[in-house]
């Protein structure tokens, strides 16, 4: 067995892989948060709960209707996206004229309610979700074994991030979205139904979270706390990447996942705090975040 810097290579690569996997979820979640923040000016604290809801929808589809993983990957985002439309229309849209803090409080409350309901109905121990048959097993990469499913998660997350980036940066719809982020009133005066666009942006952002939730279901068990475990780190990712920056979210998400993984090898005691250390340093040096535009 060979070693790198005195650490056994399998340990190092294992943690690196774990870091990249976590990074994939950080990226997907912070991407949705960034899009929502850019357009709605709301820090969506319910994001983790909706990620969890995505996993629960996948689990429910399988348990009650016998609908498997691949359909869940499509249906769960649609279901959670539709739920997002209801939330935005019914509750969040009433807060646009108020301070940011009200949106934060409302979505935080929503997160507590959604997670509480899940805990009440399903307990907090979690339910297993099987890896689909076509993604079972592992590949020998020569220096380590890569479980196929984990490789798939990284690829799927990267593709989804890229697709979101292309839509926002390279299409007319994305141009309208970017313009509305800058000056929603003027865009509306150009004939664009901005309120509808805001609703659909929220739905799209939470659908991304649900997609991540389905990806996560076979790795972590489906449990009511799975979102809460992620969300604090994801907020740090968004702050480090720069509020509202798409590219920043993706790069920072994967980057911090790796940093976290490597810290687990070299100095495990710091692995839970290293991200916040990075956040403090970045905010001191670049208050708008790594990819943020100074206001």
């Amino acid at each position: 067995m060979f070693t790198i810097l005195g650490f056994p290579a399998p340990l190092l690569f294992g943690q690196l892989l774990l870091g990249v996997i976590n990074g994939a979820f950080y990226a997907l979640l912070s991407l949705g948060l960034a899009v929502i923040f850019g357009m709605l000016n709301i820090v969506n604290f319910a994001h983790g709960a909706l990620f969890m809801l995505g996993a629960f929808v996948a689990w429910g589809l399988l348990e009650y209707l016998g609908i498997g993983y691949w359909w869940a990957l499509v249906l769960a985002p649609l279901v959670v996206g539709a739920f997002g439309i209801v939330l935005e229309k019914l509750l969040i849209s009433r807060l646009y004229k108020l301070d940011h803090l009200y949106g934060l409080l409302l979505t935080f409350g929503l997160a507590l309610i959604i997670e509480g309901l899940a805990r009440n109905n399903f307990g907090s121990s979690g339910m297993p979700y099987p890896i689909p048959a076509s993604l079972q097993g592992a590949m020998n990469l020569g220096f380590m074994f890569l479980p196929v499913y984990r490789g798939w998660v990284v690829v799927a997350a990267l593709v989804m991030c890229l697709a979101t980036w292309v839509v926002i940066e390279k299409t007319p719809l994305g141009a309208t979205l970017r313009a509305a982020t800058e000056n929603a009133k003027l865009v509306q005066a150009f004939g664009v139904n901005v309120p509808l666009m805001i609703t659909l942006t929220y739905a799209g952002g939470v659908a991304l979270a649900a997609f991540a939730g389905v990806l996560a279901a076979p790795i972590y068990s489906v449990n009511p706390n799975m979102g809460a475990n992620f969300i604090i780190v994801v907020f740090a990712v968004v702050v480090i990447g720069g509020m509202g920056s798409i590219l920043g979210s993706v790069v920072t998400g994967f980057g911090l996942g790796v940093i976290e993984g490597l810290t687990k090898v070299f100095y495990p005691q710091a692995s839970a705090t290293v991200i916040f250390l990075v956040m403090i340093i970045v905010l001191l040096a670049r208050p708008a975040g790594l990819f943020g535009r100074a206001a």
Binding site: A175, T176, R178, Q188, A189, F190
Partner: protein, 234 residues
């Protein structure tokens, strides 16, 4: 007599507690170029924004081609066929020139094609891929006007299109406004520079303290120059 294209009656507007427009009345006929003149703070820009539905609160009546705009959402107002070029130009920094040009929705057939806009403003073609706000002030103004010519809107609201621009650019914008008038567009123009306005407009409304206080046909402008100077304090 047929109703004019745009008919504003007893228009009031508020920003929070402050009551900015106090019963504005004026008409714009189809194919006319009409200016709103007045000192800073007289309510010219607010009148424009009220027509577009961009003020927090408004009352009274704004009829455009028979449709009542008070109470209508800004995107639906735009879709009745009104193009808005705001005072601050409203060029988007995160969009390139082409994206800025293509942003306003097409609301009716009969707008200028992109090729025609590029003929009017060749700079926009050369800089198609530049970031919108990297353009010079004059080019940004051309972009702001060009993008609403594309939509097929037949009434254009231009808020101080010449503000802060070099004389040669002001002339180019003047030529453009005459050209679009010749093509049958109707223009409501806010201008500080009434000498510029006099070369284009059919009629001038003078605003003061949130009201229209006078209307001067362009033919009488020379004769009434003293009165106008008094109104504008120049």
């Amino acid at each position: 007599m047929a109703e004019p294209m745009l008919q504003v009656r007893d228009l009031n507007a508020w920003y929070g507690e402050s009551h900015v427009l106090h019963g504005v009345d004026f008409d714009v006929g189809e194919g006319e170029v009409v200016t709103l003149l007045g000192r800073n703070g007289a309510g010219k820009t607010t009148t424009m924004k009220s027509i577009m539905g961009l003020v927090p609160r408004r009352a009274g009546s704004i009829r455009f081609r028979g449709a009542e705009l008070v109470g209508m959402r800004p995107d639906l107002i735009a879709r009745t066929g009104i193009g808005f070029c705001p005072e601050e130009r409203g060029i988007f920094a995160s969009l390139d020139v082409t994206e800025n040009l293509m942003l306003p929705r097409e609301v009716a057939p009969g707008g200028l094609s992109v090729a025609e806009i590029h003929t009017l403003f060749p700079n926009l073609k050369e800089r198609a891929r530049s970031q919108g706000t990297k353009l010079s002030g004059g080019e940004q103004q051309m972009l702001a006007i060009g993008r609403i010519l594309r939509t097929g809107a037949k009434l254009l609201l231009l808020d101080e299109p010449t503000e802060g621009l070099a004389p040669v650019i002001v002339q180019q914008i003047g030529r453009t406004i005459r050209e679009i008038k010749a093509r049958g567009f109707t223009v409501l123009l806010v201008e500080q520079n009434f000498r510029f306005a006099a070369t284009l407009a059919d009629r001038h409304y003078v605003m003061e303290h949130g009201r229209i206080i006078d209307m001067i046909p362009n033919a009488e402008l020379e004769a009434r120059m003293d009165t106008l100077h008094e109104y504008l304090g120049v």
